[in-house]
């Protein structure tokens, strides 16, 4: 095994899980738990979750369905409050939702009453970015995401893949430091999904944002990530975090080549086994 495994088990970690080089992680999920009160009583959705993402890191979370991945994401985004624990950005409590932690949702969440261009500009209008700069950044995103032809289209006129491109552009145009992606390709067909995965890799080479990415696809998790976090069944906790070697040969190849690479296959199998244990046990 060429890669090391950081094995973080349940329960709060002692002290701050700072990254190797001593400075604060970009995004830190510290001892986050979440329980809901339903008619059936109290439900624990998340047992204590701890994760720390370094600046520019791409971390994917996989886990059995219903394990609380999305809940963790909503807490990380500030859209949901944790029952205990905290979310830190650059070592400071992150507070409510905002453009610095941009979210890409599985169901796109585009504004149906706005054109593609208007959707992309929404956040900039909120932030009162000067008009000429808005136009410039809009053009940049339209080109980057291949949306030029659709600038005046309404979301319902676009395919799912195109809609998600718009949603990604709407996030990226705000130059977020952190991008939270909640199964962003989960609602897309297999081909579109592959294309967008590759594009995401390409986008990351342009903007070095920090990404927390949730998926139920093990392949996707391994292909995209610097580290893959596997979650336990409900109440969800981080079971294991696996490093994906940055210098792996397949990393520089396109997705179909990468997926055939023995090292990739090995890694995928390893992650899948960990996920499967949780599914079988539940």
């Amino acid at each position: 095994m060429t890669h090391s495994t950081a094995n973080r088990t349940r329960g709060p970690v002692t002290g701050s899980p700072t990254t190797g080089n001593g400075h604060d992680p970009k995004l830190e999920i510290r001892g986050v738990t979440k329980n809901f009160v339903t008619r059936a009583g109290e439900v624990d959705a998340l047992a204590s979750c701890d994760l720390a993402l370094e600046q520019g890191e791409f971390l994917t979370i996989v886990g059995p369905s219903g394990c609380g991945k999305s809940t963790l994401m909503m807490v990380a985004a500030g859209l949901d409050e944790a029952s205990s624990g905290s979310i830190l950005v650059d070592g400071e409590p992150a507070g409510g939702p905002g453009p610095q932690r941009s979210v890409v949702f599985q169901r796109f969440a585009l504004f149906p009453s706005r054109t593609v261009a208007d959707n992309i500009c929404f956040g900039m209008q909120q932030a009162r970015v000067p008009k000429p700069e808005q136009a410039e950044r809009l053009e940049e995103q339209l080109t980057l995401m291949g949306l030029g032809k659709f600038r005046d289209s309404y979301p319902h006129e676009l395919s799912g893949g195109m809609q998600q491109r718009v949603a990604i552009a709407r996030s990226l145009v705000l130059r977020p430091e952190i991008l939270l992606m909640d199964e962003p390709f989960g609602a897309l067909d297999a081909q579109t999904r592959l294309l967008l995965q590759e594009e995401l890799v390409r986008l990351r080479q342009v903007h070095r944002f920090t990404v927390l990415f949730i998926t139920h696809s093990v392949e996707e998790a391994v292909y995209l990530a610097d580290r893959v976090a596997v979650m336990t069944r409900r109440p969800g906790a981080i079971k294991t975090v696996i490093d994906v070697p940055g210098d792996a040969e397949w990393r520089s190849s396109d997705i179909e080549t990468a997926m055939g690479h023995p090292e990739f296959t090995q890694l995928r199998q390893r992650v899948w086994k960990l996920v499967k244990e949780e599914i079988v046990a539940s």
């Binding site: 985004a77 500030g78 859209l79 409510g96 939702p97 905002g98 453009p99 932690r101 941009s102 979210v103 949702f105 169901r107 969440a109 585009l110 504004f111 149906p112 009453s113 706005r114 054109t115 929404f122 956040g123 909120q126 932030a127 309404y154 319902h156 709407r170 996030s171 705000l174």
Partner: protein
């Protein structure tokens, strides 16, 4: 294994001419989606048929002209009535009187119902506070308010406008509320992550997204207001289409009665069509509801 002879097995022999499933060209006219123009033609044709049957009925004297005057006479009356006065006003004057009352009641209804509905849909607190009261008042038919309207406002236009207002404010409120609360909460969450605050979300996301339903609510409210008009004009009116209809029935002038009823029908349909157009104009992105 030839299929030709295997009819006994229940399989269709190949020689039998293949009948494709009904395609567009052969589909019955009722099943097909039609263009706007075609539906218009069909509408005109069915109305024309009705008039023809009406004409035949009166021409063959099957029905007394006192009860149902022939269409031509109604048309003639309409023509005269455009310029000649009946009960102190021409047709234009009566129509204007009616429209003033409807417009007044409808606009007041919107002034109250639109913001009220939006607030009820948006804020739980407002809903808890206002909705029970609203639900209590809602089942009371606008006509049941007439006695109270007279006591409060006397027998004039204000009382009539009040009654029309009551009939309009309910659909204004209910539909605005439904429009706002049916906005996908995910859009609100997305807007928050894009840096929008409450006010901005309400204006730029919720109301913006709800516009087509809000306009639909306005249309239903106008329909209600218009149909309540006749009842409102029973309040000792001195002008208006309902007032004309009431008087005409008392003097057995059924031609005038039919003219006023026709105008009420045509204007009601026209308002509805206009607001449909407004809906399309303000929300070109919406799929037709």
């Amino acid at each position: 294994m030839t299929t030709e002879t295997s009819t006994s097995t229940g399989r269709v022999p190949l020689q039998r001419p293949y009948r494709p499933p009904r395609k567009r060209g052969t589909t019955s006219i009722w099943r097909r989606g039609l263009s706007g123009r075609a539906t218009f033609v069909i509408g005109v044709a069915s109305s024309a048929t009705l008039v023809a049957v009406w004409h035949l009925l009166s021409a063959t004297a099957l029905v007394s002209p006192l009860l149902l005057p022939p269409p031509l006479r109604v048309a003639e009356t309409f023509w005269q009535f455009l310029t000649a006065e009946y009960l102190g006003e021409t047709l234009v004057g009566h129509t204007a009187a009616s429209m003033t009352i409807v417009a007044g009641g409808w606009l007041l209804g919107g002034l109250v119902g639109l913001p009220l509905g939006i607030l009820i849909g948006w804020s739980d607190r407002v809903r808890w506070l206002v909705f029970p009261l609203f639900q209590l008042l809602r089942p009371v038919p606008p006509l049941a308010w007439i006695p109270l309207a007279i006591v409060w406002l006397g027998i004039g236009d204000p009382a009539r406008i009040f009654v029309v207002f009551l009939s309009a404010v309910v659909p204004w409120t209910i539909n605005s509320m439904a429009a706002v609360s049916s906005v996908d909460p995910l859009l609100i969450r997305a807007a928050r992550t894009l840096g929008a605050g409450d006010g901005s979300i309400l204006r730029r996301v919720v109301i913006h997204t709800a516009t087509p339903t809000l306009v639909a609510g306005a249309r239903i409210a106008l329909g209600n207001a218009w149909t309540t008009l006749i009842a409102a004009e029973l309040l000792a009116a001195s002008a208006g289409l309902g007032f004309v209809a009431l008087n005409a029935s008392q003097t057995l002038s059924s031609d005038i009665l039919l003219v006023s009823m026709g105008i009420i029908g045509v204007l009601g349909a026209l308002f509805s069509a206009i607001l449909r157009g407004v809906g399309r104009a303000v929300a070109p992105w919406a799929k037709e509801a």
